[in-house]
């Protein structure tokens, strides 16, 4: 029943899938689907936040001490970068709603660049940790805690690797999400440059933006939990 017109006799938009009645139904469905997807993402990270809470309650001294090994400045830089990328992606959505695909394209590119900066900083953080022998779990090979060389830590800490297991799991999973977002937003930017989107049909731009806000939001929680407190 893929008739070219809908009930009111208007031309069907080429981006309207055959099983939807109109663009609004399609857009609303996509948006609800994405929100549900974001719920699953929150629950996925929620599991890790759960682990964080349990271990922190059991070993507060471990978290207080081990978190001093993280570089707060780099973490803060990454926070700023991600917030900036959230602003640009929001602007991209606004521009496409106003039928300005060129601006949308550049805002999306800016978002991807910010995301790239985030990943580069993360790369330096990780390699620095690996050089210092800080690996997750049983490969942990850093004696600073045992030797009392960490600033502000008085008593030796038992099992410092547990903190870094959680650190690597959380930031690693988050990093994967940043990478996924970069690919998706690049694709959306490419489609935008081809003129696929307009104020009538901009669902992928908005969905990408919503997803990106979530990635940003998770980092907003990770930064203080891991680096600051």
């Amino acid at each position: 029943m893929s008739q070219p017109t809908n009930d009111h006799g208007h031309q069907r938009h080429p981006a309207l899938a055959h099983h939807f009645n109109d663009m609004e139904q399609q857009h609303e469905s996509l948006k609800m689907g994405l929100w549900l997807f974001l719920v699953t993402e929150i629950l996925l990270f929620g599991g890790l936040f759960g682990f964080y809470v349990f271990f922190r309650v059991w070993h507060p001294e471990l978290f207080a001490g081990a978190s001093r090994m993280l570089n707060v400045n780099l973490g803060a830089l990454n926070t700023l970068v991600l917030i900036a990328s959230s602003v640009t992606v929001a602007l991209a959505i606004r521009c496409i709603q106003l039928d300005q695909p060129k601006k949308t394209f550049w805002y999306l590119i800016a978002t991807v660049v910010f995301a790239g900066v985030f990943m580069v900083v993360k790369y330096f953080e990780y390699t620095h940790k690996f050089h210092a022998g800080i690996f997750p779990g049983e490969n942990f090979n850093n004696l600073d805690f045992a030797l009392g060389k960490v600033e502000g830590v008085v008593a030796p800490i038992q099992n410092p690797h547990v903190f870094f297991s959680i650190y690597f799991a959380m930031t690693g999973l988050h990093g994967l999400h940043v990478l996924g977002g970069m690919f998706f937003l690049t694709w959306v930017a490419w489609r935008t440059s081809k003129g696929a989107y307009s104020s009538e049909y901009f669902s992928p731009v908005e969905l990408g933006g919503l997803y990106w806000h979530l990635v940003d939001l998770i980092w907003i929680y990770l930064f203080p939990l891991l680096y600051l407190i």
Partner: protein, 637 residues
């Protein structure tokens, strides 16, 4: 004489590619049906192996163990003497003490004659230093083999069969039809979920072929992180498989939830939908909310096994019980992913085949959602004996009892629906009645296990096994079979042989009860689960007769399911054309041709009457030409 429509979704396009790249929810349902049912029968074979091993005390497979064993503790009798002594010991029920048996091991190690009988004597045969090396090896082999068999049975049944069974097969096929939509909201995601399922299944299959796992389907640490499996690869592969299958489940749930919210045909409100949809909706919510947690838990389990991140390993500062919390936080809601669709099917079966309006529509609809939400707050009842605090146990026990209320509401409403209905004893109705009986038994025995004191006695016994199977097989699988029989003529447009269907339904019911009712008694008498051998236990004689009966029942059950497969497959290709509405149902899926056309309806459906309005609509008035009622004036919109 009924005829099949000329064009329908099955013959609309031809070629393997048109199936593998299809976006049609009905074809995807059939793709799912093929692989999910294969998984069901494969896991059924593993179950039969488990039951075969338990039919008699002693190791059945890898009999080398028995050959090297002493025939009897009283010295070294030879030949028929040994057999007689063994039988005598059986009859008195007084097996020799394990210590004596161990002492006599060396003396009797060379007795090879009468080995057949040895399998049924009453000696406990642990791997002890007194055994010959060959006996130790074959005993260990038998144990590992048994562990692998029940692990595979559990893991495949749970993750590859029962979770996707009803939603992915019947839900996929019926959901858009019942709400008058042309397809689910995201057809491409729907197809993707099937490929993700196949990928997860491939990981699982690889793990099986690579050496399999013996961790149990729950993957408890430290089995899954250290001891279980022949090597790291198998365990990592199967847990990754579960992780991937979770995505498939999430995709399906997400898709269905959006479809129900946004794709209903004009005029269909929330309370105008068939209750099947309510059940699928509640299931979708649980799939979306619970599955990500098992996902992250499986990822951490893989990291633990692979890199030793120490989250679950006490020697590295981790906590193994934490795994149980996270596992059951998903897996308890997951049993509602399994049973809620079963409830959903029963709503349709009891109404259509008794020609009655459902009793208490809203109560049933909301009780599904209530079960879905309460299901998130009871996971601790799997851990009453895992070192959880007494207070937590009390709270979990209380909420567990609480969840009996919405389940009870459903059962009473279905019985009230049947009351004074004009019941047709069709195969679907026979399954519905079987469900009511079996699920009630399963539900009531859940109360025993939810009670803290009783659970201490019953946990990890066959009572748990029996309870679980009464709910999952007696509940979900029976409902699923009923649903398959109910909608088979809609899916393929052809009717199966009702005679054989009733025979096999009877065999399934009898075989199932023989297998599992026995196990309630076994468990209450102290038979622990997950043991490959029960010789030398205090009640070995009792256990032997009960296990033997149970294994016999498993064969009957297997025979019943085998017959089902044969006549259903035959019907799909060669059955008599069934017509649009063989049962006289009033929901929208009956207002189209059988099989339906690719676009589901001949015209756009409009809501004209409720799905259970048997008091004011005659089934003959259902019409595919109008996608609803023949009487135009009765249309509400």
């Amino acid at each position: 004489m009924n005829k099949l429509p000329e064009k329908h979704f099955i013959n609309n396009s031809k070629g393997i590619k048109s199936w593998l790249l299809t976006m049609d929810h009905k074809r995807i349902a059939i793709l799912y049906m093929i692989v999910v049912m294969s998984a069901f029968y494969l896991a059924g074979v593993f179950a039969l192996i488990v039951r075969l091993e338990l039919a008699k005390p002693g190791a059945l497979f890898f009999k080398g163990a028995a050959i090297e064993e002493p025939a009897n503790a009283s010295g070294a009798p030879k030949g028929s003497e040994a057999a007689e002594t063994a039988v005598a010991a059986d009859e008195t029920g007084a097996g020799p003490e394990p210590a004596t048996a161990a002492a006599a091991t060396d003396a009797a190690a060379d007795v090879a004659v009468g080995a057949e009988k040895t399998a049924s004597n009453n000696e406990y045969k642990p791997i002890d230093p007194g055994m010959s090396d060959a006996a130790k090896v074959s005993m260990a082999k038998s144990q590992v083999f048994y562990n692998k068999m029940f692990t595979l049975h559990g893991a495949i049944m749970v993750f590859l069969f029962i979770i996707p069974s009803v939603p992915a097969i019947l839900g996929n096929f019926l959901l858009p039809l019942m709400i008058g939509a042309k397809d689910v909201a995201f057809p491409r995601l729907n197809l993707a979920s099937w490929y993700v399922y196949m990928l997860g299944a491939a990981f699982t299959l690889f793990a099986i072929l690579h050496g399999t796992v013996d961790t149990g389907w729950t993957f408890y640490t430290p089995y899954s992180t250290q001891t279980g499996g022949d090597d790291n690869t198998s365990v990592i592969m199967i847990t990754m498989g579960v992780f991937i299958l979770g995505f498939s489940s999430i995709f399906t749930g997400l898709n269905f939830a959006v479809t129900i919210h946004k794709m209903r045909a004009p005029g269909i409100g929330w309370f105008d939908m068939p209750l099947f949809i309510w059940g699928i909706y509640a299931t979708a919510l649980v799939q979306v909310l619970a599955t990500p947690v098992i996902g992250i838990t499986m990822v951490l389990l893989v990291l633990e096994r692979w890199l030793g991140i120490g989250i679950f390993d006490p020697s590295l500062g981790g906590d193994p019980v934490l795994f149980q919390h996270f596992f059951w936080f998903y897996s308890h809601p997951a049993v509602y992913i399994m049973i809620l669709p079963g409830f959903a099917i029963i709503n349709e079966l009891v109404t259509v085949h008794s020609r009655k309006h459902i009793f208490g529509y809203k109560a049933i609809g909301f009780s599904s959602v209530a079960i879905a939400l309460l299901g998130f707050m009871v996971w601790g009842h799997h851990m009453f004996l895992s070192g959880q605090s007494e207070f937590s146990s009390m709270v979990f026990s209380f909420i567990t009892f609480f969840i009996g209320i919405p389940s009870g509401i459903k059962i009473f409403n279905w019985v009230a629906t049947l009351y004074k209905g004009s019941i047709a004893w069709t195969t679907p109705m026979l399954y519905a009645v079987s469900f009511l009986i079996l699920f009630t038994i399963g539900g009531l025995t859940g109360i025993h296990l939810g009670a803290l004191g009783v659970d201490v006695h019953l946990h990890d016994t066959y009572f748990v096994v029996a309870h679980f199977h009464y709910v999952m097989v007696g509940g979900t699988v029976i409902a699923f079979l009923g649903g398959l029989h109910h909608w088979w003529p809609k899916i393929f447009g052809r009717m199966y042989n009702e005679f054989w269907a009733k025979i096999s339904c009877g065999l399934v019911f009898i075989g199932f009860n023989m297998t599992f009712f026995t196990q309630f008694y076994l468990g209450s008498q102290g038979m622990p689960r997950r043991y490959h051998d029960y010789s030398g236990m205090m009640k070995t004689n009792l256990f032997e007769s009960l296990h033997g009966f149970s294994s016999l029942g498993a064969l009957v059950l297997g025979l019943g399911l085998f017959i089902t497969a044969i006549y259903l497959i035959h019907a799909a290709f060669k059955g008599e054309p069934a017509g649009e509405n063989p049962w006289g149902g009033l929901s929208l899926e009956w207002a189209t041709t059988s099989p339906p056309p690719t676009e589901n309806f001949l015209v756009d459906p409009v809501y004209s009457h409720g799905p259970y309005d048997y008091d004011r609509v005659l089934p003959e008035e259902m019409s595919a030409e109008n996608a609803g009622l023949k009487r135009e004036k009765d249309r509400r919109l």
